[in-house]
Point group: D2
Chain length 255, copies 4
């Protein structure tokens, strides 16, 4: 079998190096958030980058037992108590474009807005208007806008405020706000949700689109682990009953 190449970790007898740094040196001097940044970017973050990544991870860590990922983890924990990792993994599997993962599509859209502004020599605002109009014409939803629980997602303003305070708000935040404004002009106001907000900030921090989904997974696993621990500690197995209505074929016999 061919050896697998990697630029992330070098583990040899008595030594583990993460992106070149000895893990024992990191252990006393880098935070977990620093290490997440390092793993994905190859370098340690500045204080500004760390503050924003921390805020994003904290913002997505948990949204209550009824969030699809948390509810999935609890259901799995209810039937299978032999493996904590099985329940956490089940929760992770509920994360997709529809739940928690819109950040990736949103980062791609932001890239399209920034790109179009440059190639068509217009402002971010005008580019966002054109991109939004195209999406509307094609019947595509703009990812990162709207939330099933919150009319206004309280995390968005905090994240954008922090991005500005730390001097890190750039084309990403501008594009997302411009898309939001373009939709409001067209009478289709939907507030920027956490996926849209973190996409804008991660774009400005230089992350690739895939990280828009991965950051949600990393943050949410903190919450999933707590949801599963609580399910085991407080609840009996098999306690969950989902009401079901059958509307299929009536009873019939085999001839």
């Amino acid at each position: 079998m061919d050896s697998w190449r990697t630029a992330i970790v070098e583990a040899t007898e008595g030594s583990i190096r993460v992106r070149g740094y000895d893990v024992t040196a990191l252990m006393g001097r880098a935070t977990f958030t620093d290490t997440i940044f390092l793993l994905h970017r190859g370098q340690l973050p500045t204080v500004h980058e760390r503050a924003l990544l921390d805020a994003i991870l904290v913002g997505v860590a948990d949204h209550g037992a009824g969030a699809p990922s948390c509810a999935t983890a609890r259901l799995a924990a209810s039937g299978n108590r032999q493996s904590l990792s099985a329940a956490v993994a089940a929760g992770v599997l509920a994360i997709g474009d529809e739940h928690g993962g819109a950040g990736s599509a949103c980062m791609e859209l932001i890239a399209a807005v920034v790109d179009r502004a440059r190639t068509e020599s217009v402002s971010i605002q005008e580019s966002a208007r054109r991109v939004a109009a195209d999406a509307r014409a094609a019947g595509r939803r703009i990812p990162g806008l709207g939330h099933r629980t919150h009319a206004v997602d309280p995390r968005t303003a905090v994240l954008f405020g922090m991005a500005r305070e730390h001097g890190m708000a750039g084309d990403g935040v501008a594009s997302m706000e411009a898309l939001d404004a373009a939709l409001r002009e067209s009478g289709k106001a939907l507030p920027i949700n956490i996926d849209g907000a973190l996409a804008a900030v991660l774009f400005d921090l230089g992350f690739p689109p895939a990280f828009g989904k991965l950051v949600f997974i990393i943050g949410r696993v903190a919450g999933l682990s707590a949801e599963v621990a609580e399910e085991h500690a407080r609840e009996k197995p098999m306690r969950i009953k989902i009401p079901v209505t059958y509307d299929g074929e009536p009873a019939r016999g085999l001839d």
Copy 2:
């Protein structure tokens, strides 16, 4: 359907509270590690608690592409590129008592050592000797000792050193070191590995045994996400070929 009760997160229109704290307040002022502590313990950590939890999460975040969890995630990523969460979840599923999860069993053993010291009115050292002798007599391995890659796990000394510097080393660290000494006395020296080291420190921080496995999952998902991102970015799908030797029934025909 009955409502699900929870003491972790309260999510209502326009508000998300984690253990009573508004998530928007946490976003600017708590680190991700603080939030992990908060989710599992119901209160924010002291600077000492945070430093040790950070060190543990950094220490377990990644151990190279060939670690079972990382290799599992990469294999899944190689066949299924539609879902980043599927690949990360696959990696989580490789975490169990045999890989990354020995911390839980180790915390239970530490609790047994501490308990026996009290009930039999002996020192931690003597209790550990008795517990180790019982394990030896019953043919049970002591979890948290030995590592397939490292003769001496470099992370252990760092973690125990930090626990002492922060004034947080208590019965947990003492018990683990006593178990290690008891084995060495009996000529079966196996160094304390990261599972044993984090178990000792988490015991002294007051975490329940289940967290010994959950902390590994939380930390390792940071690494898994980077391994999967690198697999997608650098490698072609289906690139991995495992050499297989067949030693079963010879070719035979259906009559």
Copy 3:
């Protein structure tokens, strides 16, 4: 890397052999159930063995959208539409000792009953009485008895009837019925559920205990795949709302 040895499948250029049989020969002449038997036992089943394995797989294939495994798959499908395998896998993860997997523990208990009858030179009935008394004394539940939906599981009588018709009912069925009778004598009547019934029959067919859980997984994946397909075809993403009651720390501020 060392080659992986296996006695299951030999795949070479232009040829795939399952337990020695060419897969192309099996394709026209063996059923899927035959192949499941072959994969796990190394030989093709008799008509009697096939009939019973078919009945078990049919019996566990689906128990409605609200069964923990099915509900978990649907929840995952609701948040992540990029990967059918992610949703099916989430459903599989809900299968454990508490849901669908009791067959394994039950097969071990049956083995203990049969073993004790032999070593203590008593009847299966007396052995079952002793095993049940020990379990009661130790406060252990007997796996395979009782069901949260069915006062009497309709599948048990059918499976035991088929085992008798096919001349395959042996010590396994006798032990399970004896355990049931022993509990009834002690006033703790709980009917034999599908896990107990399939455990008894699989024991008589010569399967190892692990298959008691694996057969449920194989059968249920048929149902999970249909549940996920229906969720995608009939429902909108993120439609599922779980009612949650928060009973944790009251709202509090960071100082």
Copy 4:
């Protein structure tokens, strides 16, 4: 919480109906393959439909320990022995468009060929030529052609032969063969693999495209369960070592 509607299974006290049929009636009279057909189609198959579905499930059940799904399941089983379902689920997660799941895309392509033949009033052969030319012009690969192990997939001829014998070969098989011929004309010969073959037959049986991936998952879980059982029975935990070459940042210190 709203009740979940479903047309698949009605489970009430003492009764389970699958698509209207009492499961106890099915248990003695329907095979597992019948039930898979019933779950997905709402009716029991004819002998011809059953024979072809059996052949497909048998054909994909296992492709050796080194197939991505099987290897993923074994790796997970190597680190986590607490949960058989965790290891099987990990294997399922490796199934995607790149491994085992191309049948779905292939069924969509076949539908496009059939549709274009009708709308452009040309033969299936001419339509396939146009669809293949468009794919080539757009740089898209045709799914269902080529295999990393087999120059000629031995399962394809068997499946197409059976479809003809059973009188079930229609536009699906014709389209797939026409796509294959079109590629051969253009000098890009790649034989039809099992994904392409099952896609053609499932199209002719009236299944929707999603089933092209689901049938692979259902069949492969039979193999995954045997691979996991063998891994537990024959191998030690943590036995698998993947050779890794590090080519990232050189060792560096924190300043």
